[in-house]
Amino acid sequence: MIETKALRKSFRGRGKTGTVEAVRGVDLTVADGEIFGFLGPNGAGKTTTLRMLATLLTPDGGDARVAGVDLRRSPGEVRRRIGYVSQGGGVWDESSAREELELQSRIYGHSKAEAKRRAAASIGAFQLDSFADRRAKTYSGGQRRRVDIALGCVHGPQLIFLDEPTTGLDPQSRAHMWEEVRRLRETGMTVFLTTHYLEEADALCDRVAIIDNGQIVIEGTPADLKREIAGDVVTLGLNGSSDKAQSLFTAEPYVRSMESLDGALRLYVEAGAAAIPHILRRLDDEGIALSSIELHRPSLDDVFLAKTGRSLRDEPKAPAAPELATASKGA
């Protein structure tokens, strides 16, 4: 459905900053009918890549085929075959969902009768019935989001781009949105989405790619990615500083790496079940009290951290990042 080779885009910076290479050779493959998650910290080139694939930006170099069409040669044909839902959505406050759906459908060349039929079908499919004829300014955040996605799908595209479809939604609306996205896949659509939530990518996506510094750092199924970080994670809850505990495990052969958190220590070990008795014995010998101990499989969070050196959740501003990182290691 999507295939890109060495896709590039740079922006001219303001003043003396020169050009910023936002996307530096992205190779991506998205298969037909899958939910593809595109992850990356802010400024990594995630949005730029998405906007290029959706014909909103012209690539500087590289090749891309989107929905079977050459993106650079015939963006107009790509537009006919894709749907795109931006993060902010785009509905006039004074219009109703039904009117917007009909207009959107007519813009794709459908007749008045066909547009009416498609709008009614979308309203049914996305369960917009209760508010479809009210003006959009009365909609809740979750309702608006559903209308946005219905608008992106009204012409029956083969591929839909969703830019952070669940950002800003309450947990219930988010769960609803996940069902909606799965339903789109069941109708045969390919879904390309970006998200800030790794558990969302894990639960929802068939495959994910992580972009950092304008390049793809890893691509695969969530299970594959987690397997990259072999072994298990043991998180020790500590009362007070983790310094002493950290020094304790530097020489232990079963500990591959460590990460010190606020009031906790995270150990990456080969086999968690076997390591825990050793860990407990070492702590006991040194008289370090433990408030909790937790064993879990690596999450996408751990993958993200390992591949980008950053956590997706708290995104510090770019210049402050190195300082913060060293400060937390030293603490």
Partner: protein, 251 residues
């Protein structure tokens, strides 16, 4: 064909939105009404001729002013639409880019027609003399002014993408254009020569002169056709520039 169809789709949606938010039609009409009610009596008192003469001179110019000011600020609407994400939603569809501009300009001209018609009707009790034939030409000229001013305003709105930048630009240009157009007071006898010279190169002063001739029932005089030709030429240039700006930034 597709371009005309898309223009019609955008136009009808824009008109529908305008009707649901009629405050803009009223605000646009209020300003000339203030001039009519708060400035008209002063002008009339200073006018050498009769009361009807004063309004017969003043109201045609006021229509030109309303056409200018009603459409020069259209660019603010496009900035709001950019922010609401509506423009971006349209950009990923195969909709004709120029239709996005023409649909909106058409809406602006229709709004001007409604406002100008109301002002003409309100001015009749003040002694304004109206004939149908010249009035049709007058509305043609209003359409040209609307097409010119709103296209330029949309172009500037897309260039600046910020109300904070657009407002001072619009105020800086619109007031000198208004003052040298001889709309509030005649430039012809009292103005110093250089100011008359400035008025002569201001297309809106031609529009105001032509408009007065039309309301006197003189439609086949030189200044009317000259004004229509000048504004027509400028409207074509303005629309082409606005359309290019749309096509460039709304690719």
């Amino acid at each position: 064909m597709k371009f005309l169809r898309d223009t019609w789709l955008i136009f009808t949606r824009q008109v529908q939105l305008q009707i649901r938010q009629p405050v803009w039609i009223i605000v646009g009409l209020l300003q000339p009404l203030f001039f009519l009610l708060l400035f008209g009596p002063l002008l009339q008192a200073m006018w050498p001729g009769s009361r009807a003469d004063a309004y017969q001179w003043f109201i045609p110019g006021l229509l030109v002013q309303m056409a200018m000011f009603g459409s020069l600020f259209a660019g603010f609407g496009i900035i709001a639409e950019l922010r609401a994400g509506v423009i971006e939603r349209m950009r990923v569809t195969p909709v004709s880019r120029v239709a996005l501009l023409f649909g909106r300009t058409g809406r602006d001209i229709l709004t001007l027609f409604v406002q100008c018609l109301l002002l003409v009707l309100l001015a009749i009790p003040f002694g304004l003399n109206v004939e149908v034939g010249p009035l049709v030409l007058m509305f043609g000229m209003i359409a040209l002014i609307g097409a010119l001013c709103s296209s330029v305003s949309y172009g500037l709105g897309l260039l600046t993408r910020s109300e904070d930048a657009l407002a001072p630009i619009m105020n800086t240009f619109s007031f000198p254009l208004l003052l040298t157009a001889g709309i509030l007071l005649p430039l012809s006898n009292k103005a110093p020569g250089w100011l008359q010279g400035v008025g002569d190169v201001n297309p809106f002063s031609w529009a105001a002169d032509a408009s007065r001739e039309l309301f006197l029932g003189h439609w086949n005089v030189g200044v009317v056709w000259q004004a229509l030709a000048i504004l027509g030429g400028l409207a074509v240039i303005g629309v082409i520039w606005g359309a290019r700006e749309f096509a460039r930034s709304v690719r």
